[in-house]
């Protein structure tokens, strides 16, 4: 009875005037084309704004028809993304964005399907699905917002939290080793892998463009700060210095070389690996042909 009927949070969107005018220069770039009228509910200063910025730019450049765009997400702060994109959106359940997005694409291959979610959503509860979307090579673009923390549930450890970090569920430091999601995706034999960070939306923009153009499953792991619940691991301060461009001469067609980069301990900004094996729909066409022959 203490939860009074207050003004609804995050309800029918109000385009706050000040923000709108502040965004007018953005609008002149046509960026608002892919922004919905709902204002993001993320904390001011969250890295997710940078990722969104890069993404809207990429979509703007590729000029994807809005009504053919579907953004599927799981649950988490990152999962709120579909509300902020001007297209069709599906804010689903925790950890299951990939199977749902796969179903969307398999049933309606003409759609452009984007899948977004946090590190907990993707590598914790949803971790079992990644290998299999990769095996099928479903033509999805999957962006992981990796802040190495559970943001929405207020700061618990995630699979990418460094060992020993104090979080709300690990007051004496975590006991688990973190995973290396780039290496794992390569071991799964992903057909497109890029890494990047929220502090450089322009590079993200170029990465996202490549990923969206890739026919098959593309995975982009974006490191991003949770300014509210992580004050030690990923912060804006030391962030920029951690990332470097992909070494010149790196052959993105060489998976062993990509794995080398992934275990180097360094953080790269760009595409680590890409090949052009047939995507799911192409494979299905072959099966359909065989089946009727």
């Amino acid at each position: 009875m203490n939860t009074p009927k207050d003004k609804p949070h995050n309800t029918e969107p109000v385009l706050n005037k000040r923000v709108a005018s502040g965004l007018s220069h953005v609008n002149s770039d046509g960026l608002l084309n892919y922004r919905s009228h709902a204002l993001p509910t993320w904390c001011p200063g969250c890295g997710y704004y940078g990722i969104t910025h890069g993404l809207t730019q990429a979509m703007n450049t590729l000029n994807i028809p809005n009504e053919n765009l579907v953004v599927v997400s799981g649950i988490g702060c990152a999962g709120r993304m579909p509300f902020f994109v001007n297209g069709y959106g599906f804010h689903s359940i925790h950890g299951r964005a990939l199977p749902i997005a796969s179903g969307v694409k398999m049933a309606s291959p003409e759609l452009t399907v984007l899948c977004v979610g946090g590190d907990g959503d993707g590598f914790g509860i949803g971790g079992g699905h990644i290998a299999h979307v990769i095996r099928r090579n479903v033509d999805l673009t999957y962006i992981v917002f990796d802040n190495s923390i559970y943001g929405l549930t207020k700061g618990q450890a995630s699979p990418t939290t460094p060992k020993g970090q104090v979080t709300s569920t690990s007051p004496f430091g975590t006991a688990e080793d973190p995973i290396n999601p780039a290496l794992i995706s390569l071991a799964y034999n992903v057909s497109f892998l890029a890494t990047g960070y929220a502090g450089d939306p322009d590079i993200l923009n170029t990465i996202f463009q490549k990923a969206l153009a890739h026919r098959g499953f593309s995975m982009i792991i974006v490191t991003t700060p949770c300014i509210t619940f992580d004050h030690v691991n990923v912060t804006w301060n030391d962030f920029r210095d951690r990332f470097e461009p992909i070494p010149s001469g790196h052959n993105t067609g060489d998976i062993a070389a990509a794995m080398q980069l992934a275990i180097s301990g360094k953080n790269y900004n760009g595409v680590l690996y890409q090949d052009d094996r047939p995507d799911w729909e192409t494979r299905q066409k072959a099966i359909r042909k065989k089946s009727s022959g």
Binding site: A38, G89, F90, I93, R96, I100, M106, A107, K290
Partner: protein, 588 residues
Amino acid sequence: MKQTDSLVIKICGSAGDGAISAVEILNRACALMGFHIMNFDSYPAEIRGFGKSVGHTRISRTPLLTPGRYADCLVALNDMHAITELKRIKPDAALVYDSRPPDYIEEDCAVAGFIEPGMSGYGVPLRELSAQAVKSARSRNIVALGAIAAMYNLDPEAFIEAINIRFARKSAVVREINSAALKMGYEYIRNHRERPVHKTLLAVKRHDRPIRIVNGNEAAAIGALDAGLTLYAGYPITPATKIMEYLAKKLPPKNGTVVQTEDEIAAIGHVVGAGYTGKRAMTATSGPGLCLMTEMLNLAVQAEIACVVINSMRGGPSTGLPTKTEQADLNLALYGGSGDSPRVVLAPANVPECYIMTRRAFEIAEAFQTPVILLLDFFLSNRFEDVDETVLETFEPGMFKRLTAEPVSGKPFERFRVTDNGVSPAAFPGMPGLKHAITGLEHTPRGFPNYEGDNHRAMTEKRRRKFIELQNAWPHPDVTGPKGQLSIGVLSWGSSIGAVREALASPELKGLSIGGCFPRLLQPLQTEPLKLFANRCDRLVVVELNSSGQLAGLIEQTTHKKAMRLADVPAEPPAVEQIVRYLTGVLK
């Protein structure tokens, strides 16, 4: 020589003896002659090669409700296994056995030693005749079929036709030598016995329409195909796997996709994703898999997405009895979800209904934007019935129709508009002017997250309201028996309905003041007709294959009347005899 309306035949052997395939030919031959059949085999539970296989079929002039329990004729292709089947034969049964068994069968292991007074032994040199016909003992099963044809006055030509169908893809030689084996068995009985005929099955007219012999799994799969399935996503699990295996062959030629997912969560995830784009998608599973799907089904309820799930029940709980039948997942289907999470639950009673209700399930799912769970069970999934093709062809689609939105310029689209009947016009990705986002969070009519009480209440009510229309439009439960006040009203559901109807028609109960009521739509339950029925009954009895009386509880909630429970978990289909006995007991 007795005349009979229906005949139960069991052919028993080790895996590899051809018991099951002999019954397949027998079914086909009988269907060609115009008989109805109902066939429910039993396989060994383990994979290893030496378990017992029992082909069990019932042949009848009139449509069948159950495959029967006790055999008129037991064929022993393996004596050791046949001995264990002797408790499931009639006192006057015929036993077909190898009259010249190989030496290594020990005396006390020969089934012929168990022939009791009243029974008729039909010794046939199965092995020898087979060797004569096909140069090996492999066609003993076919020789036995020939004997059956002679013993029941059945036209051997129909058997030969059935053999030709069965071996259509083999060489002409195979067809010929097997036909020869059949004739040898037939002639052997005719020539070596004074009274070759054991019982006469009253003759019937041949069907003038094409007949298919299908089981519940196939019927449901064909229903899905005919409904225009786009995507099937599934994970193997007994007894549902065959649905996926069937569709894996038949869906790709129709431009659809079958995907075997990494688990059941992914399976229902794919289905929900496809449903969200407006396409018809389905999965099939059994209890343990349905458990894993509950969270996603809840999402489909909250986000109002059409999807169809077949759950073929097996013994439980947990891994339970994977190859035995049971009806204990009703509660899970009705209530397996957090929050107020209404979903439609349908339970077909026989094979043709598996077809019809699967097709209808897609319409319901789309029209009411909801998950629909179809409850089959091991028995229904695996029992074969003759199905008149016209049943399939005369299905009339369009009982329920999807409401699609039109963009109205200047007005934001309300995907979840609160309407009188709870149904909001839907829109799908690709449609211009109707873009929106959906969510598993509670949301406003436009789909934005909202946590206010008034909105939540309105949306919760909206989601429940959708089912009132369905409740009204769906045909009322079958009600059988005398009009007026009844001593007992018997309710049942799913594959148990057949046994109950057969019991009510039995000589022991016929004419008594007992009625039956058989709902197919289990959620939303059709309250009014059920109350009407209950009010006519002094006592209610609910027959089902589970131990707590899951439908019984639902009936009590709905009618506020005590329901007696004939709720049993025999690990096999319900026995007509048990139902008769129980009801007789209640009347006393």
